[in-house]
Amino acid sequence: MFYREAGDFKTSYKDDNQTFPIKFDRYRYYAVLLFGFAVVPFLIDDYWVNAIFMPFLIYAIAAIGLNILVGYCGQVSLGTGGFMAVGAYAVYKLMTAFPDVNIFFHVIIAGAITAIVGLLFGLPSLRIKGFYLAVATLAAQFFLVWLFNRVPWFYNYSASGQISAPERTVFGVPVTGAETSAWATYLFCLVFVFLSAIVARNLTRGSVGRKWMAIRDMDIAAEIIGVNPLKAKLSAFAISSFFIGISGALFFAVYLGAVEVGEAFGINKSFLVLFMVIIGGLGSIFGSFAGAAFLVLLPVLLKNTLVGGLGWPTDLAAHLEFMIVGGLIITFLVAEPHGLAQLWRVAKQKLRLWPFPH
């Protein structure tokens, strides 16, 4: 009843073009922001941050990044894990080489470095499409992991071959290292998620986003109306990798603290983020969040219900968890191939007319 656009007249193209054109959506968005920034930090403890919020937020950034490439520009990539590793090792090298610079900038520069690497591995996209491109990006995945394993310079010649994040602070509060508190790491990641989502939204609603979508939908027509396919594809690779690099940097520095590259950034990571994007909805920023939430929360939820609620043995529950999540993904994709974002759109469409069917 309150979800109405009737009477909410837009009198300028600026108003018509805003992210949340319906008033209720807008206020809901502000409410979520307020809750996320001002309420959640006071409520959470280490368990919530480490099991739920941190992976959700960090994967959301990676999913936004990959969604730009796959969902908006139509270029399939299986190199996400490798690009996250670039972000992680870049931020590690920066943190150890320039200890006086704030970690906030380190993370952003790590994103920029990943953007350059992503751009290089995006070059084959000019020649090949679809599955073949996916295979080509697989090369990035394996090459990058191999590189970080084999070249000791990247892990500062440490004996274990691992990298571990030294303590760094923002406004005097530690966000990396052993002494962090739950709310600080949460807020640090949230700021990046917030900024990434806004930047991604701005890019996808403007002319850059239209270029990407034009290439995705029909590359020949796009070129005929003036889109330079080289620039469009490479910019999608660069910007996508930028976000993925940021998420890799946060994943290493803030979430895990210490990382062994093959374990943390293997091919599994690439598939996980790709599934998030597909389940959440290709070509939708909201879908990136929804997909990340789905794949992060569902296992936790299942584990808690099966082990905590029904008292099943942990090992049985762990196996069943895989089967249930897998089954749910299949059911879900059969029922709604366009992902959670489409379900959300349909729900909103129905709400607008409720209680009338048409």
Binding site: V208, A214, I224
Partner: protein, 273 residues
């Protein structure tokens, strides 16, 4: 038609046509051993509606693809606005002010009508990626300015009601109209229409013919079109090029072409006795 000069001519309905906007000089195009186009020359004058007709497989669409830079001819020169055009990628041709529609609709199915038409405006949008990431300021201003122009086109083609509809949901005739809108959004100097009325019923053809004439009249856009419906071609166009088996067999006003023996032979066949 009265006297044809370098500077132009006056059409039967009294419109003044200018000098040569585009000139094709001795174009030949081959695909391996297949000769798609053999030594064709013709010009397109500023402000005129120029039709290219011919039986199936005559090379009309190939000709249009040469004009829009999609095919590179093995021989011949393309002159645009008094200059010889170097070899270009299609997006560079688009930036010179040549827009086109396709025989099989080539819209961006995943986008709304508005986004499709706005995409046609890309050649006029210059804001860099950094400014767009911030959005407020330059990027937003540019978006609104171009939206205003696009809304004029939307008004002109009477597609206001489907502005926000995803293109995939539209009927065929509407898609054709949206494609025309996308081409017009670029404010082209030369508009190429590849069978704009293919597959349409009489009412839709009438609508489309009216839009073609209005575009020419209102924006002064030069139009080159390929069409199979002879009634439409003869009514709309100022001059007609006729092609058959990759060769030019006729060129002139609709009346001249209609009475050209080669053209009649090509269309009706000729007995070999």
């Amino acid at each position: 038609m009265n006297q044809m000069t370098e500077e132009g001519y006056v059409t039967e309905d009294g419109r003044t046509i200018g000098g040569k906007l585009m000139e094709m000089k001795h174009i030949s195009l081959r695909f391996g051993g297949v000769k798609a186009i053999t030594d064709i020359s013709f010009d397109i004058r500023e402000g005129e509606i120029r039709a290219i007709i011919g039986p199936n497989g005559a090379g009309k669409s190939s000709m249009l693809n040469v004009v829009s830079g999609f095919y590179v001819p093995q021989e011949g020169e393309v002159w645009f606005r008094g200059e010889k055009r170097p070899q270009m990628r299609p997006y560079e041709v688009a930036r010179q002010g040549i827009a086109r529609t396709f025989q099989n609709i080539a819209l961006f199915e995943g986008m709304s009508v508005l986004d499709n038409v706005m995409t046609g405006r890309l050649t006029h949008m210059q804001t860099g990626i950094a400014a767009q990431a911030l959005w407020k300021g330059k990027a937003e201003r540019e978006e609104v300015e171009n939206r205003e122009f696009v809304e004029k086109i939307i008004d002109f083609l009477e597609i206001q009601a489907i502005r926000k509809t995803p293109v995939a949901n539209l009927p065929y005739g509407m898609k054709k109209r949206v494609e025309l809108a996308r081409a017009l959004a670029a404010e082209p100097k030369l508009l190429l229409l590849d069978e704009p009325m293919a597959g349409m019923n009489v009412e839709e053809k009438e609508d489309m013919s009216r839009f073609v004439l209005d575009v020419n009249d209102e924006f002064g856009t030069t139009i080159a079109l390929i069409e199979h419906d002879m009634g439409v071609v003869m009514d709309l166009s100022d001059r007609v090029v006729v092609m058959d088996y990759g060769k030019k067999i006729g060129d002139g006003t609709p009346d001249e072409v209609r009475n050209n023996q080669d053209v009649i032979d090509a269309y009706l066949g000729v007995s070999h006795d």
